[in-house]
């Protein structure tokens, strides 16, 4: 694992960023963490196999596991000093070896083993601590890593604001300062212990319904204010990122109707996104391909309508297809639209790769206004997302929403209950398409132009992943999914080479640990986590039958 991290090149990339200035780089931290986790898991195994709970065994188990992890790195250094490995794995150069041996070169090759063993031992020993302390320390460590990762993003705006002293104290030019790191760990650890002592969660759940209702408005207000001021003051880059996240929340909510409620796996979402974006482009652009030069807002309803129409036209022939086949068919449609947009055939109308430029901003304001640039896109997207969430929520508890869920659960039975499959599915598909079109329209406004290269399969996959990771059919899940899958990768642009690696890891971990999504809808959660009463009830019936059979024989 550690070896893999090194050879893939994450460690060297992370190595350029310090976690704690001049002491530990992110790259080293990732290796230390690996040894720590391996040691911990090994110690857990030892404990499971050893009812006697002998402390020495735990530590020993952790140490051995950590040492093995480190050993692979030591061997790498030794091997690398003899043979040039760069032809096999490009990052395996002197820089990596310096990093692994703390700049000592080959004589320091023993360092990874011993450090790994040390980490493993610490992890093993941590099992001896009481649970609450272990938890608190883990929280502290997590906070340290998180803050270290965000150091670059947080520091710049802090320095330019009233918090500049605090910013200078916590963050060095490249990562956290030592003082900042210590304080972070102490605060996070202490905070966790304190919260646990107070039993915060239990207290909240003990509050009566009425008390909670009183507490709700202020909490919501705080959340609202945070959401509203989020893009302000953190710089244009951050504003751009949150605007993009908001846009993906909007589209995620749209697909949530198609995929989350009606269960139609639509991988051609980008087709309708493209239709919306190009419609706005054609209708509003003041440059070459513009045909009407309308204001932005006049074009948006048309974009939504035309996307919806496309949804109907594309949906009718393929909605009879079930399950995975539908995914393939929609994938195909998405690709057709994408290729068409960039093709020579459509070039006289859509501009091909050169695209349509000079799309006006939705709201025309001077550059220093609080609505300037990506900020306005953020607010517009959020507003539209709120609207879609409202629509989805109302529909969920209606005749149509129930028909969608019924189709998702069992198409044949839904039909036998009198649900018109084509009509009902088409409605879900068209609503999804309409919201994708809206997303495309706003995207055109955000960028100010639309190119064929903006229309990529990646958009469809991102949106589908948001819905699945967030939790099918759950509105808060979509929000969280968008933050995780769009926001974080954008914030860590410098590591963007490994974006898909992390995507993959995240999806695998999700499917292993929380197959229902981050914030699943209430019902799905109940379904996936309750014991199967049904089986229990079915068992005696089965045994009756067995007994009967025996009697007859």
């Amino acid at each position: 694992m550690a070896l893999y991290l090194c050879l893939v090149g994450i460690v060297p990339t992370f190595g350029e960023r310090a976690l704690i200035d001049d002491i530990v780089t992110l790259g080293q931290a990732s290796l230390l963490l690996t040894a720590l986790v391996v040691g911990y898991v090994a110690a857990l195994r030892v404990r499971a196999g050893d009812p006697g709970q002998r402390p020495l065994r735990l530590v020993l188990g952790g140490t051995v596991a950590g040492a093995i992890t480190g050993l692979s790195l030591t061997l790498l250094v030794l091997l690398g000093s003899v043979v040039d490995l760069r032809s096999i794995a490009q990052p395996a150069g002197p820089e990596l070896y310096d990093l692994l041996t703390f700049d000592l070169g080959v004589p320091g090759a023993w360092l990874p083993v011993s450090v790994g063993a040390l980490m493993g031992a610490i992890a093993g020993a941590s099992l001896l601590l009481p649970v609450w302390l272990r938890r608190a320390l883990a929280v502290g460590l997590g906070a340290l890593i998180l803050l270290g990762l965000f150091a670059g993003i947080l520091r710049t705006p802090m320095l330019s604001s009233d918090l500049s002293d605090l910013g200078r104290f916590l963050f060095a030019s490249n990562g956290l300062t030592l003082e900042g790191a210590i304080i972070t760990v102490v605060i996070a650890t202490g905070g966790d212990i304190l919260l646990r002592r107070l039993d915060a969660r239990k207290r909240i759940s003990r509050l009566s319904e009425a008390q909670r209702r009183v507490a709700l408005p202020p909490v919501l207000l705080v959340v609202l204010v945070v959401v509203l001021v989020l893009p302000q003051g953190l710089g244009p880059f951050f504003a751009q990122v949150v605007a993009l996240v908001a846009l993906y929340i909007l589209m995620g909510l749209g697909l949530n109707i198609t995929l989350g409620l009606a269960g139609l796996l639509d991988l051609g979402f980008v087709a309708f996104f493209a239709v919306g974006a190009y419609t706005v482009g054609l209708l509003t652009s003041t440059a070459e391909f513009g045909i009407a030069q309308w204001p932005f807002w006049a074009a948006v309803p048309f974009a939504v309508l035309i996307a919806m129409l496309f949804g109907a036209v594309l949906g009718l022939p393929i909605l009879g297809i079930r399950g995975d086949y539908l995914a393939i068919a929609t994938l195909g449609f998405g690709e057709i639209i994408r290729i068409l947009a960039g093709s020579d055939l459509m070039k006289p109308f859509l501009g091909g790769p050169r695209g349509i430029i000079n799309i006006p901003k939705p709201i025309d304001v001077p550059p220093n206004d609080f609505l300037a640039g990506p900020q306005q896109i953020y607010y517009i997207s959020l507003l539209c997302a709120g609207l879609i969430a409202f629509v989805a929520w109302r529909l969920r508890d209606s005749r149509i929403g129930r028909a969608w869920v019924a189709i998702r659960e069992d198409e044949d039975v839904a039909e036998a209950m009198g649900v018109n499959l084509v009509q009902t599915k088409l409605m879900a598909y068209m609503l999804g398409a309409a919201f994708a079109g809206l997303g495309g329209a706003i995207f055109a406004g955000l960028i100010g132009s639309i190119f064929a290269s903006s229309i990529s399969l990646q958009v469809s996959i991102n949106v589908a992943a948001i819905v699945i990771v967030g939790g099918m059919g759950s509105i808060p899940g979509v929000v969280l999914g968008a933050i995780f899958l769009i926001g974080l990768p954008e914030l860590f642009r410098e590591f963007s080479e490994y974006r898909f690696l992390f995507y993959g890891i995240a999806l695998i971990v999700m499917m292993r640990l929380r197959p229902e999504g981050l914030l699943p809808s209430r019902i799905v959660r109940r379904e996936m986590h309750l014991p199967e009463n049904v089986e229990a009830a079915g068992a005696p019936v089965g045994s009756n039958v067995a007994a009967e059979v025996q009697e007859r024989a």
Partner: protein, 284 residues
Amino acid sequence: MPLLVAEAVTKRFGGLVAVNTLDFGIEQGSIVSVIGPNGAGKTTFFNCIAGFYPIDEGRITFDGTPIQGLRPDRIAHLRIARTYQNIRLFASMTALENILVGQHQHLSSTWVGAVLRTRGVRAEERAATEEARRLLAFVGLQGKGDVLASKLPYGDQRRLEIARAIASQPRLLLLDEPTAGMNPAETAQMTGFIRSLRDELGVTILLIEHEMRVVMGISERITVLDYGERIAEGSPQQIRNDPRVIEAYLGRGAASAAAPRADDVSRGADEEGPGIAASPGNGS
């Protein structure tokens, strides 16, 4: 004139003739059973009536309207409802929501109305929910409306499936092995319940059943299928003594032996019914 008439209905799967030139009729307000050994084509015949399988030859008329070739949802709109041999509820929906789906065709709210939650839509929803609760109570599931369908005990699932079917206010109800996997007490209860459906709601009932006590107890007429063909039709008394029926169930030798009690005839019931239906039982 019978409510449902099937004339020379044939359904083939490749070379296999699952239902062979079957003639069948059911009078309004009666309870009729279709019995037969495993693979006799009983469920296939149900699927043909409900429109799930297109039939290859013949005619099916419901209340004078030809229904062969119609889509299942169109047939449902003509007021034919059904249940399934292996319970098929909407697992992630609550008991109440399952029944509300059954009412689908009687509700009229459009998506615009649902989003705006107009007065009409609200009134309709309230009435529908009330009706659903009444149906829950009718099948003995009062208070279980908010339980997920998949979490209900097996017997309750069977009852919920019937409640969902009668929520569509059917004139003809097709029950596919309603007592499969039930113990004798539950079976007796279900038998009484099926009779009350006809007596209180006036629903015509066609059922597939293996449990002979049920079949003989509540059926007014019985049709016996074997290899997709009708081998006998008549009152329970006639069927009980029909040598062809005994032969189909017990083989040629048994037919000439002293007339066996029909209660014992249920070749293979143990494999087809409960075994399958009881195992996952989540209705999906």
